[in-house]
Symmetry: C2
DNA sequence: CCATTATTTCTCTCAATACTGAAATAAGTG
DNA sequence: CACTTATTTCAGTATTGAGAGAAATAATGG
């Protein structure tokens, strides 16, 4: 007789938090951060750190650090509650806004450092007169790709989300247009 | 007097492998896998597992498993070499093709399981008559978003890469069109 | 400015996972 | 069908990162 509930017996909300936390690992954020985010996403009122700690059963200090990380992603923000000293937090609940915030964060964490690294490599390569030109060329292609992807994602992120939503929902039409003249695999 | 070279003294190719390996962690693949991928990406001829093991100084067994993972991503493939029993590998060197393979892999590992999870939650939620409708609604919005993103990315991945390349490179024009009538942050 | 309560920092433990090296298996070869 | 060589599996080790709890700091109120 254990106190741990089988996931099949727990409520939809609890399940959501569990799954979301689990997926967090896959997405590069740790479980605590993902669980707290899920909890706040489904919460109908602001929560303070202690409430979160109690509800999820994770250490108060862990909650503190995780909240800081989520604020860094702008996925949650602090809200003052009248007559309460403690800090309260709410999540961004618009899923499109959320997606754009995550995309933004990923771009910063993934594309930007990749660009910095490749730039350094190519600077080094320029000092190597007997470097195989094929190798240099591959590096340059990678660099160019990253630059294009970088500019593209920056622009993508500046599109108003209502438009993005509309665009993606009518994706079929956009894409069939794009594929019209495309050759098979080139 | 150590044998470990300072990164500033190593060649551009070695630097690239080191940085790529390092970024791998950020991207969710381990260092060995990322380093092997980088090595093959810059290699002008097919390599066998032993060569890779020697060049990168990682265990032969580790190379074997990492190669399998890279083949799983379709980022490398086996090529037979006449008169050599050993398996040789080459990387996909087209950066656009590479990007699409990675996107494909990520969709499968990130979006697909997320969709499966949210579907289960909502199925559970339907059995809970006194679930706060706001919560149910948030879950449903998330579900709808994931479905849209899923369809959209599937379609994106089926666009011939030459077209995608052209589209992204002229991104400016596409996006300025999109933003024309957009309201500021809604 | 002391007392109380909230928050953060720090150190330690534990768990997850990367990696190694040996053993086992598989694939060729004479 | 033995013998060599290539590859994979497995079990143990090392490294990394998550998370807990105590200690330190900061904020607020009397």
């Amino acid at each position: 007789m254990t106190e741990i509930k089988d996931i099949n017996e727990s409520t939809a909300k609890d399940q959501f938090i569990l799954y979301w936390g689990d997926m967090g690992s896959q997405w590069g954020v740790n479980r605590s951060v993902a669980q707290i985010h899920a909890l706040l996403f489904l919460s109908t009122s602001p929560m303070n750190a202690e409430q979160i700690s109690d509800e999820l059963g994770i250490a108060r200090s862990n909650v503190s650090n995780s909240l800081k990380e989520l604020v860094g992603w702008k996925l949650i923000r602090r809200v003052p509650i009248a007559g309460d000293r403690r800090e309260h937090f709410v999540a961004e609940v618009d899923v499109w806004e959320m997606a754009m915030l995550i995309a933004q964060g990923r771009k910063e964490r993934e594309i930007d450092p990749a660009m910095a690294a490749i730039d350094m490599c190519i600077r080094q390569a320029d000092d190597e007169p007997n470097l195989n030109p094929v190798i240099l060329n591959r590096m340059k292609e990678m660099q160019e790709f990253l630059q294009t992807a970088d500019r593209w994602s920056s622009q993508m992120l500046s599109v108003p989300k209502s438009r993005l939503n509309a665009l993606m929902k009518m994706g079929d039409k956009v894409f069939s247009l794009l594929k019209l003249t495309g050759k098979k695999s080139e």
